[in-house]
């Protein structure tokens, strides 16, 4: 075990320290925060042999460059399709590799995705707030943003040979822009035409996209009455519509309450897919009942559990080899 010191020579906007987030504090105005893509975050941590709650760096499409000043450590990069280089080695996320003193680690946007997760074999030193290092972007509380000139320290770092190599991808067989959603809780405030627009319309993500939410463009979703709605709780995935008929999908650092009606809510595990769509990408909502949403997430969860168990056991283990040989499905289908 050793300590690793990495100097940040480039960090794009929205590169932050995250862990699994703070749960149970929405009643005090504190959202869970944590990773934008929770699934990718879990896989990065488990592939390197960490707990699934460990602190990582969430890298945005702005990219990240680290110079390793001292020590050595294995690391995992998982999420989206990013281009990664360390020393003379080049690969795409998703992989476990290693870095040592004198080497540079460069993570840049690649063919797809907005968020990738950098997990080290060891503990990233990060400021905690309310028991979590997750950065709450509105306040800056928690581990905080990673920016040029800062230093990342990893304590108790080690090399985990047996884990190095490619991480098999967990992929969905559905088209990337198809997102499951459940109507409500305020669908009753919208005329039938707007509900039809939500169900059948084609939307695009816009550049108004940060850790709090992403604004969509597409057919108008006009609330049918002038609304004087008392502020009420919001969940990650709420599709909120302002008076101008523009929908915003609220994400990890969403405000915990608001007075705009929510026409629908994205099914929780599909948020991980939605956040990897890029601005201008197309998106269509597959509107299903709450009962069907439960059936779907339970079925997908069962596939994911098998995959995650294999990844967590690491290379060399039988489940991992089966996964690599496609004998355990990494494909999340429909029930």
């Amino acid at each position: 075990m050793t300590d690793v010191s990495l100097s940040v020579t480039h960090a794009g906007p929205l590169v932050t320290i995250q862990d699994s987030g703070r749960r149970g504090l929405a009643r005090f105005g504190v959202p869970r925060s944590g990773p934008m893509d929770r699934n990718a975050f879990d896989i990065a941590n488990l592939a390197i042999g960490n707990s699934s709650k460990a602190t990582v760096i969430e890298v945005s499409a702005g990219g990240l460059t680290l110079d390793c000043k001292s020590g050595e450590a294995s690391f995992a990069v998982y999420g989206g399709g990013f281009n990664v280089s360390v020393g003379s080695q080049k690969f795409s996320s998703c992989r476990v590799s290693r870095i040592e003193a004198g080497q540079k680690l460069v993570i840049q946007p690649g063919p797809s995705g907005n968020w990738t997760y950098l997990a080290f074999a060891g503990n990233i030193v990060a400021k905690q707030w309310l028991g979590s290092a997750a950065t709450h972007s509105m306040s800056g509380f928690g581990g905080g943003s990673v920016h040029s000139g800062s230093t990342i320290e990893v304590r108790g770092a080690d090399i985990r040979d047996s884990r190095e190599g490619e991480i098999p991808l967990l992929v969905s067989e559905r088209p990337p822009g198809e997102i499951d959603a459940v109507l409500g809780p305020q669908d009753r405030f919208f005329a039938e035409e707007s509900i039809d627009n939500l169900k059948t319309g084609s939307f695009n993500l816009t550049n108004a996209f940060d850790r709090m939410g992403v604004r969509l463009s597409g057919p108008a979703l006009i609330p049918s009455a002038k609304l004087d709605m008392p502020s009420e709780p919001i969940v990650r995935g709420s599709i909120q519509v302002a008076g101008d008929g523009v929908a915003t999908v609220l994400l990890s650092d969403h405000q915990t309450a608001g007075g705009y009606p929510k026409i629908a809510t994205v099914v929780s595990d599909d948020i991980d897919r939605l956040v990897q769509l890029r601005p201008q990408d197309k998106l269509a909502f597959n509107v299903i009942t709450a009962e069907d949403a439960l059936k779907r997430i339970r079925a997908r969860h069962n596939v994911r559990v098998k995959y995650i168990e294999a990844v967590a056991k690491g290379h060399g283990s039988l489940p991992f080899r089966l996964l690599n040989e496609n004998l355990i499905s990494g494909v999340v289908g429909e029930p």
């Binding site: 749960r23 149970g24 929405a26 009643r27 005090f28 105005g29 504190v30 309310l130 028991g131 709450h136 509105m138 306040s139 509380f141 959603a181 459940v182 409500g184 809780p185 709605m229 008392p230 502020s231 009420e232 709780p233 969940v235 995935g237 709420s238 405000q255 915990t256 309450a257 608001g258 929510k262 809510t265 994205v266 099914v267 929780s268 709450a290 009962e291 949403a293 439960l294 779907r296 997430i297 339970r298 969860h301």
Partner: protein, 228 residues
């Protein structure tokens, strides 16, 4: 209180709504259910988020479903042992002098009162915390007395300091982080709502009554300096 309505929120939450207008009675019904859930959480319960007229119940969709949660809530509501209120009166200090971006004079002009009368009206309000929302520690308090209720401004002012005491309509709020606001800025408070104590990080629980106590500028500075 009539039976609430139940609305599914995605795959993992249920919104229980006791009305559509803000009133103390409706809000108390929300808080009663909130306490009931805390005392008797059902299998798969994650958290409850009380608001003005409704409460969001977040659950683990792998363990339970909307219908079962609804049944648990109905059971809790019929159990009258959840009716007791256990709240603590909290005090918030407020200084009305030398406030950056103060709207005190504008509030006085719009309400036809003197600034001193606006201050006295503010201090005389019968406040309690209805809900937290928007940002960490943003506790929405009601009720501001009728004579100083004003609709929020047409547009927001940016960069308003943490600790600002704001009013809009029947609501009052003490900010905890720097941010834009369209509410009327009437004072500043050295009382920390984000206490910095990890065991007890927020000054109020929802439902707590709140008294504002006026302090002068010297006291304000003394307390601010002492808190650092």
């Amino acid at each position: 209180m009539a039976q609430p309505s139940f609305r599914a929120v995605g795959d993992h939450a249920l919104l229980v709504e006791f009305g559509d207008k803000v009133s103390k009675e409706t809000n108390q019904a929300v808080h009663r259910l909130d306490r009931g859930l805390a005392a008797h959480p059902f299998n798969g319960f994650i958290e409850s988020v009380p608001a003005f007229v409704n409460i969001l119940i977040d659950f683990d969709p792998l363990q339970t479903d909307h219908k079962s949660v609804e049944a648990s809530v109905i059971e809790l509501l019929t159990d009258s042992s959840n009716n007791e209120t256990a709240t603590t009166v909290r005090e918030v200090l407020v200084c009305y002098e030398s406030v950056e971006n103060s709207d005190l004079e504008e509030v006085a002009r719009l309400t036809g009162l003197s600034t001193e009368a606006v201050i006295n009206a503010h201090l005389a309000g019968d406040y309690s915390v209805y809900m937290y929302g928007f940002a960490p520690g943003y506790a929405y308090m009601a009720s501001v007395p009728e004579e100083i209720r004003l609709p929020r401004k047409k547009s927001a002012i940016r960069g308003i300091a943490a600790g600002s005491v704001l009013i809009a309509g029947p609501q009052c709020l003490v900010t905890t982080i720097t941010m834009p606001t369209g509410w009327w800025i009437i004072g500043k408070s050295p009382t920390l709502i984000l206490t910095g104590d990890d065991d007890d990080p927020f000054l109020f629980d929802v439902g707590d009554p709140v008294n504002f106590r006026r302090i002068g500028l010297d006291d304000y500075h003394t307390i601010k300096t002492g808190a650092q």
